[in-house]
Symmetry: none
């Protein structure tokens, strides 16, 4: 995924571990533009530890003194909140917000960014800070316990942004299968083989389901979508059953 100018802004963050965890969450979701407004304790060994392999995002983070500074070049800003409704604000859920952020970020010129703003762990954002946003972003959650950890919120919003990008940019193709699926002809030969063994051991369905036994078995294996190797294993097992029966039968004769 190429770079999109989507910025995460953390305001007055108290715990450096959370800053590291946000950096990791951002990199997991292919984001890299992190701005820290007046962090309480930074740089910090704890931030670096929690960032894990995202130390590059952390190292590139800008530290500024005010939210105004962090947002100066931004054209569309959403602020996170746990409130589902807020007087005079448009409140959108994370999924809709992500779609709009991606849409705006694709439209803007290279020097402008869109931003998501996260408040302090305990009190969120002040009214004055909220007023710098175009909309509030609310993460749908348990109404009795709606307060998410800040890094969790960043992870969720980053994920929705990633999903929104996939929706508009297209999903890169999956790696092809190493082993092809069995063909219908392969499966037919397996079912014929299985029917032979069922006849040889005198197996009858006693569940009285009304559906022909072999049709039920076909549906079961059809759902599993077996590959060529798997059909070979199953047929090998059927052959082993037959061989043992025949050998026993010969001795018997």
């Amino acid at each position: 995924m190429h770079n999109l100018p989507i910025r995460f802004v953390l305001v007055d963050t108290s715990h450096p571990g959370n800053i590291g965890a946000v950096a990791r969450a951002m990199k997991n979701m292919a984001l890299s533009d992190l701005v820290l407004v007046n962090p309480k304790e930074y740089p910090s060994a704890e931030a670096t530890a929690r960032a894990s392999g995202a130390d590059d995002v952390l190292a590139a983070a800008r530290v500024v003194a005010t939210l105004e500074e962090a947002l100066a070049d931004c054209r569309f800003v959403v602020a996170t909140t746990a409130r589902e409704r807020d007087q005079n604000f448009r409140v959108i859920d994370a999924r809709s917000a992500a779609l709009q952020l991606v849409d705006e970020a694709r439209g803007v010129d290279a020097d402008a960014a869109v931003a998501v703003v996260f408040g302090t762990e305990r009190f969120g954002l002040t009214n004055q800070q909220l007023s710098q946003a175009n909309a509030l972003l609310c993460i749908p959650a348990n109404r009795d316990y709606a307060s998410l950890n800040i890094a969790m919120a960043a992870q969720l919003i980053g994920y929705e942004i990633y999903m929104a990008r996939q929706a508009v940019e297209g999903v890169p193709p999956a790696r092809p299968r190493e082993v092809p699926l069995a063909s219908s002809a392969d499966l037919e030969r397996f079912y014929t083989h299985l029917q032979q063994v069922m006849d040889e051991v005198g197996f009858r369905d006693r569940t009285q389901s009304g559906l022909h036994l072999m049709n039920r078995i076909r549906r079961l294996f059809g759902r599993a979508e077996p590959d060529i190797n798997e059909v070979n294993i199953l047929r090998g097992l059927l052959t082993a059953v037959q061989k043992r029966r025949r050998r026993a039968g010969q001795h018997n004769a």
Copy 2:
């Protein structure tokens, strides 16, 4: 939101802080059934601290010794993985998995659960553990840095489950299955029975795939998501094979 039987299972978790963070993430998303398989350090003050206001979820968590025990009463199991493709598995993304989990959870009787399994922080789940799942769940993420913290993964999946529930609540549940899916315990009994028959007929895998034969067979049947009747048919067939062999053996003696 009323209770749905959706279980999160954490296997061999190393850091107690992660257990607490998962408890909080679950409560944020209105989930409460947490099972810990062989946690390295638990109970723990760090777990309690990270759980924050979700200490009730943590207090109600069950600790068990094995994954089999954690899943015995589960009818649909997905295992988390960072791999987007895994030979012999159905791999679904978090959003689709959440829809299916909610769908199955609404359909099952009250005593059965569906489950999401999370592996260790460093190594994820072993091949043998993965083989107890019906499908693998993959969180879409940056291909160059796809490894999410375990609590972050739990938060994302919990969120998708919450979103899926919002989408279907109010919508009457899909017609429940006429025949419930086989539980993990039912499937374990089937695999044990199948292994007996394979030993009796002297069947060995000759495909040299590197993956233990029984793990391949587990994945094949896991993908099919067999119901109780289907498992009974398969076991009936195994019993018929055994009876014929024994009868032949007796004549032979």
